[in-house]
């Protein structure tokens, strides 16, 4: 019995030493990993670079520096900022601001541990390109607060008179409340040269997932053999573009229509929002500019804000990106005294 206890204590001592070895070895490997030129891990020790800015006490800011030309004039700012996403490691991005400390020149992913196929899609060029040229603070499309929207959307690009029946611009409307399943319906209508050129109808649930996305990946299924919700929403949108109005889009007492082939959803929300947007388009009220040249980006005007699309199916990652970009903007605008 006594021998067994002694054996146990010796075993414990050996296992403790081995544990320390494994943990210490892990630590060395982690350190090596960060300096090993990992694809997404191009973190630089910016403190040592010229123009480094003191970031002590700034929440979520890893490093920052001034970018200068050959003659020493400031041409912009680089801020490395981080925020907690879905993965164990925070999402770290480098945001390059113009010298006005507001316009984003570029956004790069430094490191992350987000889920491949979901949050990791933020590395895609199409997502990162959204940031080029937009002004901070940034919001998800259609989620800018009213005050920011007024500043940004009408600040310099009022709807222009056009040859057609509507005034050019992008008109966004959303339902007053969520439906009984928690979805908030929203519609974006684009008018160019007086004609409706694009209608996007969608709905977002309480955790930020779009119905169009959920239906396209099979998470929101109405019937196995019919059109998906997104395809039906697109068909309704196409009807409005072709007819330049909702006239003829009749509904029965259940809110269904048999005018558009394949559409079985209740279209009351679609009709309400479209008519609301058409009224706005008739007067130009609440119009945003249309000359962004990029469907996925809404570049705001002087004193405005930027809007981006979410990373599909990755609410936590999207929120982390919004947080870190806006933290970077807040930090650098305070530093630059803008």
């Amino acid at each position: 019995m006594k021998d067994n206890r002694l054996k146990g204590i010796i075993a414990l001592a050996v296992v403790t030493v081995i544990s320390f070895g494994i943990i210490y070895g892990s630590k060395i490997l982690v350190k090596d990993e960060t300096g090993n030129g990992n694809d997404t891990d191009n973190n630089q020790n910016q403190e040592e670079l010229p123009g480094a800015i003191d970031v002590s006490g700034a929440e979520g800011i890893v490093s920052a520096r001034e970018l200068t030309d050959d003659s020493g004039n400031i041409t912009g700012y680089s801020v490395v900022s981080q925020a907690k996403g879905f993965g164990a490691q925070p999402v770290v991005m480098e945001i390059i601001f113009d010298k006005d400390a507001k316009t984003i020149q570029e956004a790069k992913v430094v490191s992350h541990s987000e889920t491949p196929g979901y949050g990791a899609n933020m590395e895609q060029e199409s997502f990162l390109n959204q940031f080029k040229g937009i002004k901070a603070p940034i919001y998800l499309k259609g989620q800018a607060p009213a005050s920011a929207a007024d500043d940004g959307q009408n600040g310099g690009q009022d709807a222009s008179e056009t040859s057609g029946g509507f005034k050019d611009g992008i008109y966004r409307v959303e339902a007053d409340s969520r439906d009984n399943q928690g979805y908030l319906y929203m519609l974006t209508l684009k008018v160019e040269n007086g004609a409706i050129t694009s209608v996007v109808f969608d709905a977002m649930n309480e955790i930020g997932e779009y119905k169009s996305y959920l239906s396209s990946v099979g998470k929101y299924v109405m019937t196995e053999d019919g059109l998906t919700w997104k395809e039906q929403a697109d068909a309704l949108a196409q009807y409005v573009i072709e007819h330049q109005s909702t006239e003829g889009l009749t509904v029965d007492e259940n809110g269904k229509t048999d005018v558009v082939a394949g559409v079985s959803i209740s279209i009351n929300d679609f009709l309400d929002l479209t008519e609301k947007a058409l009224k706005m388009a008739a007067t130009g009220e609440g119009a945003e500019g249309t000359d962004t040249g990029n469907e996925t980006t809404t570049a705001s005007t002087e004193g405005g804000y930027g809007e981006i699309d979410a990373v599909s199916g990755a609410t936590f990652t999207t929120n982390a990106i919004l947080e870190l970009v806006n933290n970077a903007y807040e930090f650098i605008s305070n530093y630059a005294g803008k």
């Binding site: 146990g8 414990l12 403790t16 943990i23 164990a88």
Partner: protein, 256 residues
């Protein structure tokens, strides 16, 4: 027949903490360390206590030590962030370790404990290497190969359950365990509580969790009842077969 290593704790680790080699290394060695410490303390001190006090001491020791050691190693030493789910799984691990210590023989055979725990640790690492490599072509975070046939599915609990079942069956064969009485529900329930295979939209999230857990447990229990009458080899019977079944149940329910 009693197992001589913390099989249930290792089984849970094989399902949850084998997504990458880093987690597997840390989890495996800490399971061995904490269990061994518990066994030694139990033999030296706790054995003199009344039964109710001994059980309480072992549970408190295991839970507090597991929580603090994992936090210390992962956060303070390695600088990782741990989310609430990972912490909850650490607590479940500690309860399974406490269960093993309480049920262990009074005169523990430390040689066999270390040998068999090392075998289980090796299985855990092999499973983690397979899963990490097949998920993204990397091992311990280092990119080894850039294959086009890697799959995110290998990081899911479905693969964890299946590989854990296979790993435990191989260990049973190696250690010649023919008729061990283990309860797979202690492994499956924590996973079901924290990782649901489906969510019911449009209702309160907590109700959705309850429904998902109930469905998983019901289906696993049904399969288990059916397995009683099947002619499985003794190494595969009980926990290995039930873990593989749980993986299949998760696979089916994930399609909902």
């Amino acid at each position: 027949m009693k197992v001589r290593y913390p099989l249930e704790a290792f089984a849970l680790a094989m399902v949850i903490f084998s997504q990458n080699m880093r987690d597997a290394l840390i989890t495996g060695i800490l399971i061995i360390l904490i269990t061994l410490l518990g066994l030694v303390l139990d033999e030296v001190f706790f054995i003199r206590l009344p039964e109710w006090s001994r059980y309480s001491c072992i549970i408190i020791l295991s839970v507090s030590l597991t929580y603090s050691l994992f936090q210390l190693v992962l956060k303070a030493v390695l600088g990782y962030d741990t989310d609430s789910d990972a912490t909850a799984f650490h607590i479940f691990l500690s309860i399974l370790m406490a269960k093993y210590i309480i049920q262990a023989d009074d005169d523990t055979n430390y040689d066999r404990f270390l040998l068999e725990s090392s075998g289980a640790f090796a299985s855990l690492i092999i499973i983690s290497i397979i899963r990490e490599f097949m998920t993204g072509g990397s091992i311990y975070g280092f990119k080894i190969a850039d294959f086009t046939y890697t799959s995110y599915g290998f990081s899911q609990v479905v693969t964890g359950f299946i590989l854990a079942g296979i790993g435990l069956a191989i260990l049973n064969r190696i250690f010649k365990y023919n008729d061990i009485n283990t309860e797979s529900i202690y492994v499956i329930l924590p996973v079901a509580l924290l990782v649901q295979p489906f969510t019911v939209t449009g209702i309160d999230p907590s109700v959705s969790i309850i429904i998902a857990v109930a469905v998983v447990i019901f289906m696993v229990y049904s399969v288990r009842q059916h397995l009683v009458f099947s002619r499985l080899s003794k190494e595969i019977k009980n926990m290995p077969a039930e873990l593989v079944s749980a993986g299949m149940v998760y696979m089916i329910l994930s399609m909902l």
